[in-house]
Amino acid sequence: MDIQTLQQFNWSAMTPEFIILGVAALLTLLDLFIPKHLDRRILGWIGIAAILGAIVSVLSLAGGQVTSILHDTFRLDSFAIAFKLLLLAGSGLVLFLAVSYEPKDGMEEYRGEFYYLFLTALLGAMVMTSSGDLITLFIGLELLSISSYILAGIRKYHVQSNESAMKYVINGSISSAITLFGMSYVYGLTGSTNLLEIAKGLLTVQDTQHSYLLGLAFLMIFVGLSFKLAAAPFHMWAPDVYQGAPTPVTAFLSVVSKIAGFVIVIRILLTVFGSAASVGHPNQPILLDMQDYIAFIAGVTMIIGNVVALRQSNIKRMFAYSSIAHAGYILVALTTLSSNMFYSIWFYLLAYLFMNLGAFAVIQVVTEKTGSARIADFAGLYKRSPVLAVIMGLLLVSLAGFPGTAGFIGKLNIFLGAFYGEPHYVLASIMIATTVVSYFYYFGVMTQMFFRPASDETGKFNIPFGIIVVLVIAVAGSVLFGILPNTAFDFMTNNLNNLADFFS
């Protein structure tokens, strides 16, 4: 393969990645060379600018044909664009949080590093969305993971941060190993790492042992990747890590990292296992065979997430469980494999992005003010800062899935999928029952904010600019997509071709 061959590829499809990568490198250098005493926040703003640039370039790429570079090691299809947008938007908001992040014991020394490590993590996530090759996907995954490990531990004189990073890295490595173990079998049964080739190769699996092994590989990959989703059974790291990590990182983990996780899960499971023939049912792909397992995992995830969240007294831990629960909801959509699955997952993640990041923005402000993250610290927030309290209330309501907010429409989509075609009564019932359970803890925060008196009424909150931006966007998004969800649906239908090019 010579340089001409390389040049014939449409490398412009990778513009967003290049922007992020380039700016990450630029930030590294800047961090080295600009004087120590200068505020590293400027790097953050550059990062935000880079993300905006990337968003623009992604949007300009939307609507085109599938671009495939080098045997799909890079692949830009509608699916990739749709989710890349989510990742970029999420990361952008997180960066806004990060530039306003002022923890008590300071993070000044590593602020510069934070920004470029953050961008590389984003890069990893973006690569995960747009690749049709196991190796690239894996590298993207690891790039995201390793960056996240470091980000989680970046407050290195903060024991909790260290511990959370340690837990994260150990669990993450085990999960990588398990995923890889599964992938190795998939490779073994097809001799290729290209997803579409794998799919083609698996169309005709004759040997029942092979399809059995594929099933096992499915389980391993799925369980391994459930680490990224923070879904059962690989969910237990989440609370500890969320609690210990710096708040923007927690926000990042709970939103961007999770979106990336779903992207890779969908990509691998649907292409590889969506076409592989299964034992005994030659016409039925393994994925359908495995539906019960996904359903089981989804159900358990929702139950654990919602039920254990009831017992939490730390807001960040509570949100960890809440994010576990939300992963469970999205897994329900995945389980149903209905034709609106892409829509419902994408929309849910979109809604989740706004409401969760908004909530984390409030959490960040409040925890910085009080120096701890107890839910009880929210007491009397309504008295101290009505605006914050009302916004938080709105976001919590959205998280709980009440109508008028994006969270509701997201759930509606999932339900529609669950009952359309072959109905999944049990799973949907679990989902809705646990949703009701979730009212307890979401409204528990409300109780603190609105009903309880503040421990000290002194001190106004001054809300930094970055937080204001996040809050405005989050509230606008949560409400807009709750009232006019068609804006999002139309965008997807008109620009993204219904994600129909996913399998081709």
């Binding site: 109508p403 809705i432 307890f440």
Partner: protein
């Protein structure tokens, strides 16, 4: 004349009040109260205008509005079908409930201006949101829109109870939230199954489709859906044994909220059962009629017997609500014109009566800091007018002819006696028990030796007369001349009867 926008204005007009309130400073107590009260007026006027519109012989369908709203994508070949419209409409039945809502809301606002002692701004904002939710519930023409408004009522109510209630308010608020959350969860499942199976949530369309044998819903599934609906609305109504939340709410919530809650919110359950349960699944409803009748009688008697031994008047009223909602069930179970009309009458009538009684409870509590029957004994001495209205309210509640309660009770039993005379006969014990517990409670409070000094200006005064008199007049009006309600209902009844095939 194009009247499509009227309903939207009617439903969303309280939101304007919210906006204005949001801009007002917290401390302007008087202005806030005035704005809160005024914001309920447009809805009231429009509702009354709609009533007149009907009475002038014009068609209520003039108000119907239908605008495409959400299209759920990715539903394969049935692409255009899975869409939700923003559609509001008004039948005679809905109009009555809208009028009821608007009236009670305005009166409740007066009560709130009187009884709420703190943070009026927040109170009225939530209150107005609640009103929008309620109005929306009764005008929504498709299930999803209905559900949205239904849920919208939950949140403000939660806060209104939890923040402005009495001692155990938070517990009550949670109880309310979780029970109703579960109820609406079940409801959502039903809605989504219907949506998923048929591709529409328009109520009229669904009604037609369910009558069509080609629709791919097995009768077992329909029965299951109806039972689910019964549970969903049973929580709201409430039906035994799903009632315990409601007791807490009645006791703990501030009186102005209980007026709304008992007057309107509980009625959503009845509305849902009639409109969706009976409307969409008439055949299955017939299958369950006996069960529903028995449930109704259980409700009626259970509430009555328990109300008989309560020491707190609020508890008496709470159990009495359970009991009275039993009559709604009884009427529905009859599945004939008389029964259904009786149920609807009971919905309206109980809305007015309980609003009246709870307003009076609010007055009493404000003056005496108690609602215990024993502590209030002999209050007729100190506050004769209040006592008089209390007694009148109780008489209305126990179904005294000439007041609204009787007409509804009468029709409900009239209906059920035709279909299930034995069940109905057992139910009539409830009529006696109602008299027994209400008189026990009300006489216990008003009559007898006064246990305490009722000195100072205690009796009703000034603006407090407005809700009391208005409600009383309406109660008597309906009781004396029930055609004000029955005339608008006939079309609705015909439709329902057509579905039942009776």
């Amino acid at each position: 004349m194009n009247l499509h926008w009227i309903l939207s204005i009617l439903v969303f007009s309280p939101l304007l009040g919210i906006v204005v309130l949001a801009l007002l400073p917290k401390t302007q107590e008087k202005v806030i109260k005035a704005v809160g009260l005024l914001a309920t007026v447009p809805a009231l006027l429009l509702a009354l205008a709609a009533y007149l519109h009907f009475q002038w012989g014009k068609d209520l369908a003039d108000f119907a509005v239908s605008v495409p709203w959400i299209q759920f994508r990715g539903m394969g070949t049935q692409e255009p079908v899975f869409s939700v419209y923003y559609e509001l409409g008004m039948s005679g039945f809905q109009m009555l409930l809208v009028v009821l809502t608007a009236v009670v809301a305005t009166l409740s606002a007066i009560a709130a201006a009187k009884f709420v002692k703190k943070e009026w701004k927040g109170y009225f904002m939530l209150f107005l949101l609640l009103e929008t939710g309620m109005l929306g519930v009764f005008t929504a023409e498709n299930l999803i829109l209905f559900f949205i408004f239904f849920e919208i009522t939950l949140i403000p109510t939660f806060f209104l109870i939890g923040k402005w209630g009495y001692f155990e308010r938070e517990k009550a608020a949670y109880s309310f939230l979780i029970y109703n959350g579960l109820g609406s969860a079940v409801l959502l499942i039903v809605i989504m199954i219907l949506f998923g199976k048929t591709g529409t949530t328009n109520i009229d369309l669904l009604t037609q489709m369910m009558a069509d044998p080609n629709v791919p819903l097995s009768s077992d599934l329909k029965l299951g859906l109806l039972i689910a609906l019964l549970i969903a609305f049973g929580v709201k109504l409430p039906i035994f044994p799903l009632h315990s939340w409601m007791l807490k709410v009645h006791v703990q919530a501030p009186p102005s909220v209980v007026m709304i809650h008992s007057g309107i919110l509980l009625k959503i359950g009845a509305y849902g059962l009639i409109r969706f349960g009976m409307g969409i699944f008439p055949e299955q409803f017939k299958t369950l009629a006996t069960l529903i009748a028995v449930l109704g009688v259980i409700n009626l008697l259970y509430g009555a017997f328990l109300a008989f031994i309560q020491t707190d008047f609020k508890m008496v009223l709470a159990y009495s609500s359970i009991s009275h909602m039993g009559i709604v069930l009884i009427g529905l179970a009859a599945m004939n014109e008389a029964g259904v009309q009786g149920a609807i009458f009971q919905v309206v009538s109980h809305g007015l009566i309980s609003a009246l009684l709870f307003f009076l409870v609010g007055v009493l509590y404000e003056r005496t800091d108690t609602s215990l029957i024993e502590n209030l004994g002999g209050m007729a001495k100190g506050m004769p007018i209040a006592a008089g209205f209390l007694l009148a309210g109780a008489l209305a509640s126990l179904g005294l002819p000439g007041m609204s309660g009787f007409v509804s009770e009468f029709m409900a039993f009239l209906g059920l006696f035709k279909e299930l005379p034995w069940v109905a006969a057992v139910g009539t014990i409830g009529i006696i028990m109602t008299a027994a517990y209400l008189l026990r409670a009300v006489l216990g409070m008003t009559y007898g030796k006064a246990h305490r000094e009722f000195t100072g200006v205690l009796d009703l005064k000034g603006v407090e007369f407005v809700p009391v008199v208005v409600l009383m007049l309406l109660i008597v009006l309906i009781g004396v001349y029930p055609s004000v309600l029955s005339a608008p209902l006939q079309t609705t009844l015909e439709t329902i009867m057509l579905g039942i095939g009776g």
